[in-house]
Point group: C2
Chain length 125, copies 2
């Protein structure tokens, strides 16, 4: 069973999106692996303190992307192969970096300053 230990709802984006992203991040990190069991909708909604329908929406989106499989009455499991993991990785990681680079270039930040800023903040200011 995968863990939601450090999951907290924080940014302004939809909760179901945050859950989808959390799962994808776990898969990229290797913390969540193929064939692992997902917590049930009811359990996860109780753990996170959100509505079961919100969890259902997140799971439905993950299922549409082929990242999990659900079987009525039984439960849901992660179903990813190496190819999918590569796709998810570029979706999340490269997508984020591309957005930051675009934003920085609009602010006319130099490549050197960008690299320095990333390093500084990585080490904790």
């Amino acid at each position: 069973m995968i863990s939601f230990e450090h999951f907290i709802i924080e940014d302004g984006s939809p909760i179901y999106s945050q859950i989808v992203r959390h799962i994808k991040q776990g898969i990229i990190a290797g913390v969540i692996q193929n064939r692992e069991e997902m917590p049930s909708r009811r359990l996860l909604s109780a753990l996170l303190g959100v509505n079961p329908n919100t969890i259902q929406k997140a799971y439905r989106l993950l299922e549409e992307e082929g990242i999990i499989e659900s079987h009525s009455g039984a439960g849901s499991w992660v179903t990813v192969n190496e190819q999918q993991i590569k796709v998810i990785r570029s979706q999340l990681l490269e997508g984020d970096v591309r957005a930051l680079v675009k934003s920085m270039k609009q602010m006319e930040i130099s490549k050197e300053e960008a690299a320095r800023l990333l390093g500084d903040i990585w080490d904790g200011n």
Copy 2:
């Protein structure tokens, strides 16, 4: 009069937020300067193809932050000093980098890989 030439509505965030951000990015880049005139609500709503009320909300938020001043019947102008620009800069730039770093650490990306990825994408893949 400040320009909205390259402004396009794209991500899923509220349009008024995107407008506020666009103005702030322009101020950081020096493209938008103190005492410059803002386009009128009606003109900008026509240019962007969005509702005047959406522009009004963006301008109200900018006014509440002290970034612009509006005068009924006359128009709106940018009102920023060096101190404000520094605050805006750290709001946007550092905020973005912090979010990326947090996300990358959750994905268990190394600092070296992060730096390499930033450099690669900066140069265009």
